[in-house]
Each structure stands twice: as structure tokens, then as C-alpha cells.
């Protein structure tokens, strides 16, 4: 029996109401003991001892939305590189979207992802299945079989189901399975090949805009369908004030809806498309800031922060979308949408804590037990350090400064709008199912 002792850390586990200096003992892949004194007696027996003094210890982060690109786009990311990136970012569970090639619309592809994840993955991978075959929005996938194969939700992600009728049928059919539909809310007829937020920057740069309404129309539709069907609905990467208001209203009415927001939508505005220095016109049309939904406005950001504070927003998800260099090093209109976000998420989010826009416990909740509620308990009780639960632990230094350098990313996707940015707050170690899957070199680890 392998024992891992993490001692002297500042343990924060919102589920247990714990916010204290203490120790954590892991036996094999489960949390064995936690607390200020209970663990010390066992110290002598530990195989690995990790000194967490000065650091914060919390449940492993859960990412409800990422793209691992395998099968089909292994030049952009693989399950191995993507899950190592997750480990470096403090994520112990990632939910991978089904827009692979072939897409995750059959048991065979879901089995493939789970098998590769078991043999090559660094952290737990929970697949999301397609809603419709080939993500074409026409015929439902075999949802029962996919559920048995292990998917935790259904989504056509970047190709959202356009037909309200098919969406209604999907939600009706899913209800008996108890899983949520995750929707990337975009009315493609309205967004109509837009490449960034519709607003003053798109007008200035001569780029086609995506209006906030393209998202909000679909959020409103989905809320109506959730009310109609009673099925669980999870709105992916919410980005506008209007969406937050619609979701807040729906929650008040008791509609079973949850939602997530990305770090980049909380931190960056549409102006990032013009680069980081407004006087440097050569940095205009920065494709690292091309993402869907697009980066919005300051007003949207303040609505998202408020949505976090009042509980409307349930989770922070990265929407990690790695791309190859050639997919981004091209004309803005034809560049791929997406940001490689797993490795910068926590450092970026800590800037909100340091600026006192959200508190640390809220941030941890949005990264742990609250997304765990969306995932459910089929894979154990995630998002807490209660004894007996899976030993998924993230250890971070809330004040350690580091500079984003995509060359050091584990992810194959170097596409980040945070390149060169100084961040304060760094993941120092990640334990997934009892194993140390990432550990910063400065951390003191003793092995027996």
C-alpha cells in the first residue's frame, strides 16, 4: 500500500468547510486522512512526503470543457500531451469534447478515448459524447449505449444543434439517463462567418462581427426547451451579459440549468484582437485572441464576475483548444478559433483573486466541487478531499510569480493570448488518483 503525505499546507476544501493549516494523507488512490493533527502519527509510514508549507492544498481541479484532439488531430494535441498540460495546470479531471475525427458519436470512439486515456493519460479523462451522429444535427446518437460506455454529458460543441425540434428530442431522450446536454450556444445563421465580437473593434478593423445576440438567442431557446422537457442543461462558455441574465432568471424559476465561464472571457476583451499595446499597430489582428465565443467587452466581464459572485455561474472551464502554428499563423479571417488554456488558467484566474474581484474559496469552488456536481458521481465523489474520496489534489502557491512562455507548455498548442504575461499564482504539484503527475522542481519531495 503506497502512502503519500502532504504536510504543513493551507488546506481549503469548501465541501468540508475546511480552511486550515494541516496535513493530508493519501493511501493508494484514495484520501485516507485529513486534518491538523490526525495525520501526523502516520508520518513515519509514508512512502512519499511532500512539504506543502507556504502552499495551498485543495481538491484537484475539474475542467468541464477541453479539446484533446485525439483521434484525428494529433498534430494539434494528443490525450497524452493534453492531459500532461492539464496536470501542469492543476486539473485532475478533464471532460473532453467530441469534435474529434471521427467524432465521439459511437461506443467504439468513446472506448478508444477511454483506453488511450487509461494507458497514456496523466489525469482522469471523462468523454463527452455527441448529441447527433457526425455532429450534423439530424439524427440522435445511441445515447444509452454511449452513457454505458462512460460519457458524462452530450454536446455537439462547435456545431450546435440548429433545429429546435432535434434539440427538444435530444433532451427528451436524455432525461431518463440523467446526464446533461452541454450546448455551445451560437445561432450560426446570425453569427454568419463572424470572426470576433461585433462592436467598435470589428468596425475599426473591418472584420465581421459576432453579435452577443447570436449566443443569447440560443441560450433562451435552450432554457425554454429545458423547461419543456425537464432535462438537465449545461450552457458552455457563457460570454455575454445577456446570457448571464437569462441563466439567472431560469435558475430562479427552478429550471435545471448550470453554466461555465472560461478564464479568457473573464480577463480579456475584444480589444485584445488589436494586440497588447494600443500604440503598436503591427500587433493588430492577433489570431491568438481569436476564439469562439469571441472575447467580449468590459461590460460583459463585469456581468460575468457578478454571475460568479451570486452563484449564477457554476464552474470555470478552460475550453482548452490547442491548434498548430499554421492554423494560427495566417490571415485573421481564416485562422482557427481557440486558445490553449489548461496551463495558464489558474495563474490567470488568480489575478481576479489578487484584485479582490472574487475570493479564493469561490475560485476553488468553481474549479472543484461545483463542476463535480455537473459531472455527477459515477466516477466517485470528485471535487473534495473527504476521506475515502478519489485522491485528486492540487497544490499551489497563490503568490508565486511566473511568466507565460508557450515554448515550455506540455500542450502542443502554443496558441495563447497570455504569452509573455507575468502571472501571480502557480500550480506547484498535482496528484491524480494518488499519483504525483506534476511537481514543480522547487518543491521538496522526499521518497523513502
Amino acid at each position: 500500500m503506497a502512502k503519500l503525505l502532504i504536510y504543513g499546507g493551507h488546506i481549503i476544501d469548501p465541501v468540508q468547510g475546511m480552511d486550515t493549516i494541516g496535513d493530508l494523507l493519501v493511501k493508494d488512490d484514495k484520501i485516507a486522512a485529513i486534518g491538523a493533527a490526525a495525520v501526523k502519527k502516520d508520518t513515519a509510514g509514508a512512502d512519499i512526503i511532500l512539504d506543502a508549507s507556504g502552499l495551498t492544498v485543495c481538491p484537484g481541479f475539474i475542467d468541464l470543457h477541453c479539446h484533446l484532439r485525439q483521434p484525428g488531430f494529433e498534430d494539434a494535441e494528443t490525450i497524452a500531451t493534453g492531459t500532461l498540460a492539464a496536470a501542469r495546470g492543476g486539473f485532475t479531471t478533464v471532460c473532453c469534447m467530441p469534435n474529434t475525427q471521427p467524432p465521439l458519436d459511437t461506443k467504439a470512439t468513446v472506448d478508444y478515448v477511454r483506453q488511450v486515456a487509461d494507458s497514456e493519460g496523466y489525469v482522469r479523462v471523462l468523454p463527452v459524447g455527441c448529441i447527433t451522429k457526425g455532429r450534423k444535427g439530424v439524427e440522435l446518437v445511441e445515447m444509452d449505449e454511449l452513457t454505458k460506455a462512460g460519457v458524462i454529458a452530450f454536446s455537439d460543441d462547435g456545431e450546435p444543434v440548429a433545429s429546435p425540434r432535434i434539440m427538444r428530442l435530444a433532451m427528451e431522450y436524455i432525461r431518463r439517463l440523467g446526464l446533461p446536454v452541454i450546448d455551445h450556444c451560437e445561432d450560426k445563421d446570425l453569427s454568419h462567418d463572424g470572426v470576433m465580437n461585433e462592436g467598435w473593434v470589428s468596425a475599426r478593423l473591418g472584420l465581421k462581427g459576432i453579435p452577443a445576440a447570436a449566443e443569447e438567442i440560443t441560450v433562451a431557446r435552450d432554457i425554454s426547451l429545458a423547461a419543456l422537457t425537464g432535462s438537465r442543461l449545461h450552457i458552455a462558455h457563457v460570454s455575454t451579459r445577456g446570457s448571464v441574465e437569462l441563466i439567472r432568471h431560469a435558475k430562479k424559476k427552478g429550471i435545471p440549468i448550470t453554466t461555465e465561464v472560461t478564464p479568457h472571457h473573464l480577463l480579456l476583451t475584444e480589444e485584445r484582437v488589436m494586440g497588447t499595446d494600443p500604440d503598436d499597430h503591427l500587433s493588430f489582428y492577433d489570431t491568438s485572441a481569436k476564439v469562439n465565443p469571441p472575447l467580449r467587452t468590459r461590460d460583459d466581464i463585469s456581468a460575468l464576475i457578478r454571475g460568479i459572485k451570486d452563484g449564477t455561474i457554476d464552474a470555470i472551464a478552460t475550453d482548452h483548444a490547442p491548434h498548430t502554428l499554421v492554423d494560427k499563423l495566417c490571415e485573421f479571417n481564416i485562422a482557427a478559433f481557440g486558445i490553449s488554456g489548461l496551463e495558464t488558467a489558474f495563474g490567470c484566474l488568480m489575478s481576479l483573486v489578487h484584485r479582490e474581484e472574487i475570493d479564493l474559496t469561490t475560485l476553488i469552488s468553481l474549479l472543484t466541487w461545483r463542476p463535480a456536481k455537473v459531472v455527477g458521481t459515477r466516477y466517485g465523489e470528485l471535487g473534495t478531499l473527504k476521506p475515502g474520496c478519489p485522491a485528486d489534489v492540487t497544490i499551489f502557491d497563490p503568490n508565486r510569480e511566473w511568466v507565460v512562455d508557450s515554448r515550455t507548455f506540455a500542450s502542443k498548442g502554443k496558441n495563447t493570448p497570455f504569452e509573455g504575461q507575468l502571472l501571480r499564482g502557480k500550480v506547484m504539484a498535482t496528484i491524480s488518483r494518488g499519483k504525483i503527475v506534476y511537481c514543480d522542481e522547487v518543491l521538496k519531495v522526499r521518497t523513502k
Binding site: G199, W200, V201, A203, R204, G206, G209, Y285, E331, F332
Partner: protein
């Protein structure tokens, strides 16, 4: 023969007067959004000299001898391309013309690869037309050559705006407080966007007018951010051209109607065409300009296009001189 040629060029060389370029700070010409009034005036002054050269019997000076100017057009173009090539030849530059609509580009070569190839071939100046907004910015980030944007997507067409300003100055002197009405498809117009920057920098009051579906979403906010008080947005043609000093209808592409932006060309013509009757609302001697190519009978009536107030052909003529000035300036204002 050779010595005779040299003899002529020496004479011409001596006749190019010293030109003041101290106020010029651009390696590239991507848009007019970062041009000062003084820089625009430098272009105007040098264009005057170039214009004089173009009126000579031998329209050529050796100023850019040994320099290579590559024109790289990803979109079909007649006047802009010919204008730049004539400008480069008049300055004795070597010119290479790359039709990117049918070359390695058509075989799938990326923009950056094409640019690096052209750089390796020794281009000093790349004149670039591209269907995507911002494409010249990629070029400027990655190659050492000077990039002159000859039109990118819906974004910018700085040499056109400069020749528009040049033409207006020839007729009206200063642009200060002049009312300039730009009419039509503002949303898709790189000419309108560059003119917003250039004309307001020169002190003009610009009015943008068109049907609501052809005014960019976000246009009002763009103006509020970047040129507050200097640009107004109008949907009623009469308001836009009343007392205008310059009336500039833009080309209306027929596809705009097909993609649902307009109910019919007929209604567009009724509401926004510049004809004799509408033109009478503007100031008596208002200039009529058009960046071309025109759809006569759509955005402009044939009578107005060819009428006494039209300076459309003159714009084309001035274009060569203005582009010579730009080539001269980005080349460092020196001979080769």
C-alpha cells in the same frame, strides 16, 4: 546607345529637387490611422513634385534604380495595380508583378510562405492587395521589406485615401471644416475606413451615409472611440449631402442585394444614387469623387459621373503621383 541612355537619366536625376522627408516616420504604409497631419502633408508635397515629373515628355527619374518593387495582388484589380506599377517604373524601380490569384498561392501556399519567398528574391517594397482584412499586417510582422497596403478586405486602402485627399486639396485648398459625404456601402468599404482617418486628420468633417444594413454594426462606437465629433453617421441622403463640399458615392456590389442586405437595387437607386437632382442639394461647386470601379446607374448616374463637378478621372491621374510619393518615402527618400 547605353551612354545616351545614361545621359538622359543623369539629366533627369539632376532635375529631382531635394525633398524634405524629415517628418516621415513610416517603414510601412498599412493605414492612415497612425499618420499625423504633417506626414500626410509630406506625401502631398512630394506628390506635387512627382506630378510635375509625370507631365514631362520622359516621365521617368532614376530615384529607385536598383530597388525592387513587388506587387502582390490576391484580388483582381485594374487601376490600383496599374497605378502602382506605373509609379514604380517612373521611379526606375525593377518591378515584379505577382498575380496571387493564379500561382503557387492557388496551389495552397500560405500567405507567409509566399511572402518569405518574395523576400528571399530580394524585394525592397511589397505592394499588397488582399481580400482579408489585416493580411498586410502579417506581412509587416514577418518580412523586412516595406509593405504598402493596396487594399485589405474591408479594412484599409491608404493610397486611395491619400489620393482622395490630394485631389480635394488641389481643388479646395485646405480640408479644414470641409464637409465630405461618403455614401453607400460603408460596411464593406476599405476606402471609407481609410478616408475616415485621413480626412479627419486633415480637419474635415466626414459624413458616412448609407442604408442601415450597410453601415457596420459598431460603426457608431468606433467613431465615438476614435474620432468623436469629427464624423457623423446618417441614413438620410439629403442630410448627408446638404452643403457638402465633396460627395463620394461608393461602389455598390450587386451581391449585396443577393445576400439580403438590400431589398432591391431599384430601392437603393431611389434612396442613395447621386444624380443631378441630389447633387443640387450639395454646395454649388461640390466635387464628385468615386474610388472606382463605378456601377454607373446604380450608386451614381452617368450624367454626374461625367459632369462638370466630377473629378473622377483626375483621381486616377493623381493616384500615380501619390503612389510615387509613397514608394519614394518608404524607400527612405533616397536614390538607389
Amino acid at each position: 546607345m547605353r551612354s545616351a541612355e545614361r545621359g538622359i537619366q543623369t539629366t533627369i536625376s539632376e532635375s529631382l529637387p531635394p525633398l524634405s522627408t524629415a517628418l516621415w516616420h513610416h517603414h510601412h504604409v498599412l493605414d492612415l490611422d497612425d499618420f499625423t497631419r504633417e506626414e500626410i502633408e509630406v506625401v502631398m508635397d512630394i506628390a506635387d513634385v512627382m506630378s510635375e515629373i509625370l507631365q514631362r515628355e520622359v516621365k521617368r527619374v532614376p530615384t529607385l534604380r536598383g530597388r525592387t518593387v513587388v506587387t502582390m495582388f490576391y484580388e483582381p484589380s485594374t487601376r490600383t495595380r496599374a497605378s502602382f506599377e506605373l509609379a514604380a517604373k517612373s521611379l526606375s524601380a525593377d518591378t515584379v508583378s505577382l498575380d496571387a490569384t493564379r500561382s503557387s498561392v492557388a496551389k495552397g501556399e500560405s500567405l507567409l510562405d509566399t511572402l518569405l519567398t518574395i523576400q528571399a528574391l530580394g524585394a525592397d517594397i511589397i505592394v499588397m492587395r488582399h481580400q482579408h482584412s489585416g493580411a498586410p499586417y502579417i506581412a509587416a510582422r514577418h518580412v523586412k521589406a516595406s509593405i504598402i497596403n493596396a487594399g485589405d478586405g474591408w479594412h484599409a486602402h491608404p493610397s486611395q485615401a491619400l489620393l482622395d485627399i490630394y485631389t480635394i486639396r488641389k481643388h479646395l485648398g485646405d480640408l479644414k471644416d470641409r464637409k465630405i459625404a461618403i455614401i453607400g456601402d460603408i460596411m464593406h468599404s476599405r476606402v471609407a475606413r481609410s478616408n475616415i482617418w485621413g480626412m479627419t486628420t486633415m480637419g474635415a468633417k466626414v459624413v458616412l451615409c448609407g442604408p442601415p444594413t450597410l453601415l457596420s454594426p459598431g460603426l457608431k462606437e468606433f467613431i465615438a472611440h476614435c474620432r468623436p465629433g469629427q464624423v457623423t453617421i446618417e441614413t438620410e441622403l439629403e442630410n448627408a449631402i446638404r452643403d457638402a463640399d465633396v460627395v463620394m458615392p461608393l461602389r455598390l456590389q450587386i451581391e449585396r442585394q443577393q445576400s439580403g442586405l438590400l431589398p432591391s437595387l431599384r430601392e437603393y437607386v431611389q434612396l442613395y444614387q447621386i444624380n443631378e437632382e441630389k447633387l443640387s442639394i450639395a454646395k454649388p461647386h461640390a466635387l464628385v469623387m468615386h474610388p472606382g470601379p463605378m456601377n454607373e446607374g446604380i450608386e451614381i448616374s452617368a450624367g454626374v459621373a461625367r459632369g462638370a463637378q466630377s473629378v473622377i478621372e483626375e483621381q486616377v491621374n493623381n493616384g500615380v503621383a501619390v503612389r510615387m510619393a509613397l514608394l519614394y518615402l518608404v524607400a527612405g527618400g533616397r536614390g538607389g
